[in-house]
Symmetry: C2
Subunit: 541 residues, 2 copies
């Protein structure tokens, strides 16, 4: 079977798993405001619109807990809304709505049978997962034809943990071919669209999650991030997303586009959600579940203490990373954010980032130790062409490293980490605020700017995306001479063509904490989030 046929088969299978009653009328598919379609298409009842539209994950768990909603009706509502999101943005890969509804019914029965038993932290909450997480009986294609029609046998450890915490799993979400680009486009399932504006990328590699959550087809999902794969789609779709420290959230047992045992920069799993407190609830639940019992590589930390270290917190601000000049809307929203935070009485310290060229080149080389041979072989096995965003990475030209090179890279990374920690301690930071990228969501296949996200992967610092607003009419194009970091920066800067082309595209900010202190970062983030959204804002729970 050729790759096109395989794709047709997989897409047909996916379509079959959506009830006929949930198929959108043609007019809605062509809507100019995809985010509004769930409310106007008539597929969800008023109560289902309330369930999916009014609460964040914590609020919804509370509503289930107090008996306002059953697990079944919550699950059904999200299955419907996810089905709509799928039709509009192509965000899903595997659909298992029927299993989910069965599971929800079991949870309802369990609860009815044991009314005195305290509910688990995710009791009845539908949680979506990036395609790389394994669910028995379903594929983990991760954008590669060669993995189609090869159902998994076991749950990934994190999926198991979430089930043990009472969650309902109902769908998996789309990624790029190779999982290595920021455009969630592949030959099996096609491209995920950004529901805020279909002319810009939904981001990647957890782009399906980004689009699904922006559509509120999910209010809490899990992505993975080795260079920005949780944060870029969170940024592009205007949701919360956390790049967790390595070893806090089980990452083991996923389908992988690299050889087993690959070292270098470690990928992490992290929450993506419609609220900050949903991310916190996720992290706390994982911490309290002894994550290491699910994935032996997890730290025996078990701590969840969000109290900041100081009463008067101090946040550094880096307006750029010295590699890419922020676009006008990014600049403007950073300035507004900082001024709001200052008004809220938080000490904000303008900083110049240390020179990152060494860090960036070390990181790039660590991403491709095997010269990306493993993933190229996967593409070859699938007898499929590279999609555009993969083509642009020019995989064949990436050199491989020797073991000695790898050791030298380890040593270089240690130096970068030492220097950066010194920078952090010298400035007595509780957190650092910087853009998640120089850009908003870019035109399709044009994402170049991963320096703002990948630095925190190299350093292993937790980094959180907090939505701010969107591109506004103030964000007029300015001259390319404002891009001061060289040729590549100018190319990137020119991609911004003004507020008309980027209508409704989200703006966000990135808040970074100290390594393995994700709990403390969350404590600071609560203050920041509150200050940013005190008067208005799209993202209050």
């Amino acid at each position: 079977m050729g790759y096109r046929e395989i794709a047709r088969g997989k897409q047909e299978q996916r379509r079959q798993r959506i009830s006929k009653d949930w198929i959108l009328a043609r007019e809605h598919l062509a809507s100019s405001n995809l985010l509004k379609v769930p409310e106007v298409c008539g597929i969800l009842t008023g109560r289902e619109l309330e369930i999916t539209g009014k609460y964040d994950a914590v609020g919804l768990v509370e509503k289930i807990a107090n008996g306002s909603f059953s697990a079944r009706e919550v699950t059904l509502a999200f299955c419907k809304r996810a089905a709509i999101a799928q039709q509009l943005t192509n965000c899903l890969t595997e659909i298992f709505f029927e299993d989910a509804i069965q599971r929800a019914e079991e949870l309802d029965r369990e609860r009815a049978a044991n009314p005195g038993t305290p509910l688990r932290p995710f009791h009845g909450l539908p949680i979506s997962l990036k395609d790389s997480f394994k669910i028995p009986g379903y594929d983990s294609v991760i954008g590669m034809t060669c993995f189609a029609n090869d159902p998994d046998q076991t749950y990934s450890p994190l999926a198991q943990l979430l089930l043990d915490a009472g969650a309902v799993l109902y769908c998996k979400t789309n990624v790029p071919q190779t999982m290595m680009t920021a455009d969630s486009d592949n030959n099996v399932f096609g491209r995920t669209l950004n529901p805020t504006n279909i002319n810009v990328t939904a981001g990647g590699s957890s782009g399906g999650e980004g689009a699904l959550i922006a559509m509120r087809g999910s209010i809490l999902g899990v992505g993975t991030d080795i260079a920005g794969s949780v944060r870029i789609p969170s940024h592009c779709n205007g949701i919360y997303g956390l790049r967790t420290s390595v070893g806090l959230v089980p990452m083991a047992g996923q389908k992988d586009p690299v050889a087993p045992g690959t070292d270098g920069v470690a990928p992490i799993a992290g929450p993506m959600a419609t609220s900050l407190r949903a991310c916190e609830h996720f992290m706390k639940t994982v911490a309290k579940s002894s994550a290491w019992k699910y994935d032996e590589s997890c730290l025996h930390l078990n701590r969840w203490d969000t109290r900041p270290k100081h009463t008067n917190i101090r946040i550094g601000v880096a307006y750029n990373d010295g590699m890419f000049t922020p676009w006008p809307p990014v600049r403007r929203s950073m300035q507004q954010a900082v001024s709001k935070l200052r008004s809220a009485g938080i000490e904000m310290v303008d900083l110049k980032m240390p020179d990152l060229h060494e860090a960036v080149s070390t990181t790039y080389r660590m991403y491709s130790l095997d010269g990306c041979r493993f993933v190229q072989n996967l593409i070859k096995q699938g007898e499929e062409p590279e999609v555009e965003s993969v083509k642009r990475t020019n995989l064949a030209a990436i050199p491989s490293a020797t073991l000695d090179d790898f050791f030298a890279l380890n040593a270089a990374r240690s130096k970068v980490k030492e220097d950066f920690q010194k920078f952090w301690l010298d400035h007595e930071l509780d957190a650092l605020l910087c853009p998640p990228a120089a850009t908003t969501a870019t035109p399709l296949d044009e994402w170049k700017c991963i320096t703002y996200t990948m630095l925190w992967n190299l350093l292993d610092y937790p980094a959180l995306i907090i939505p701010i607003g969107k591109v506004t009419d103030q964000d007029v194009v300015d001259g390319v001479e404002n891009a001061i970091f060289g040729e590549e920066d100018q190319q990137n800067y020119k991609l911004y063509t003004g507020p008309e082309d980027f209508k409704n595209v989200p703006t966000t900010t990135q808040l970074i904490g100290m390594r393995q202190e994700d709990d403390r970062l969350m404590g600071v983030a609560k203050m920041v989030d509150e200050a940013l959204h005190s008067q208005s804002g799209p993202s209050k729970p």
Copy 2:
């Protein structure tokens, strides 16, 4: 300069740093009981014998704190006793007694000037360090001629941490050439002898520490351990020693016999001491010092909670590791220990260890990823021959690995770790008791049996040596047919030639805890140590 001349120079320099008044009379050098010499040689005053002989590190810190002893007199006493230990066992490398006494005087003055200020946790306590730790102005030869006469510029992070905690640093201790064998013998400083019986090895690579502490020339020192280098000399010399979990104690910034950035099995730094509570005090002090501020690779754990997880603790017992048959004294002391622990009401569960062949071969290959080329080059640079124990490792025959091999080894290790964790959880263990080796201290250059120690390095589980007693007349030789694990096992078994040859040689046991739960292991160890030494025993504080 040839290597012999360099050695003469270094040894002469070392001799110069011992006051003439502290030189032992010839008769004492030939004593048949080295451990007694400090008490009978007349160099230490009665008060100095009390200071060095009567307390463990915690007790001594208390005595300094309550004003019974000044930091200066404590330091002077240990300098004297270390000088004696050096003359008897050749355990020291760099000596900086004068700096130490100055430092102690400063501490005394500081205290007198600020009588109300609480003392730091190591105020005035002399702590000895393995030769690999750097002290400005002194060499870190680590047994390699090429590193002689090249004084360091900075403190190793852990040395700095200890100073910040009030410690007095006064000497560094001997190691094997390459730091990769269990015999602390090299061309620069020669061989360290075991003060319990000079016919058996002092162990290694932290063998100088082992001998020095057995002599009570130190009551708390720091070794490092990648395969057993803290535990083997602790075992051979009958002291406490902890292989800490990776990332708890700063390991960075030491002189290293491998290339910067070398990966594989990570070495750790850990305490060696005359008491369990000294090891605990060390670990707690490091934890409370935010170790990561000294060494960015340390975990942001900061936890020190020795409460066991269960009220009724449950300890697994593995009498052998399925690779090497324990010698008669090892067998006997394990049995006696288990029976004592059972009498004390601790639940002891006899277990058969999982098959370790895969783990052992993975570990060996991870130790020598570069085919030991780096260390061979160091030997070449020093234009020196290999010492006997290094010769026996046959460095030149060790193959190097490719990056793909390394990834495959990582994957193999993950599997071993998963399997072992399952074993641990299935048996609901709070700790595991097993011998530190199939042997006691062996005849010189004969140490083969690192499987009992290195497994915990591969798995990254904390492992503690607890002294039990010594070889007794009951420990008669038995037939080699009792060694049931093959040829190599039989060779090893035959090395035991009966209690006469192994007179006074210590027996110990090894208590293992769950990864990164060194604090909890210490909690269990307290109960074990108490039970083992409730009636008698050499090692009560």
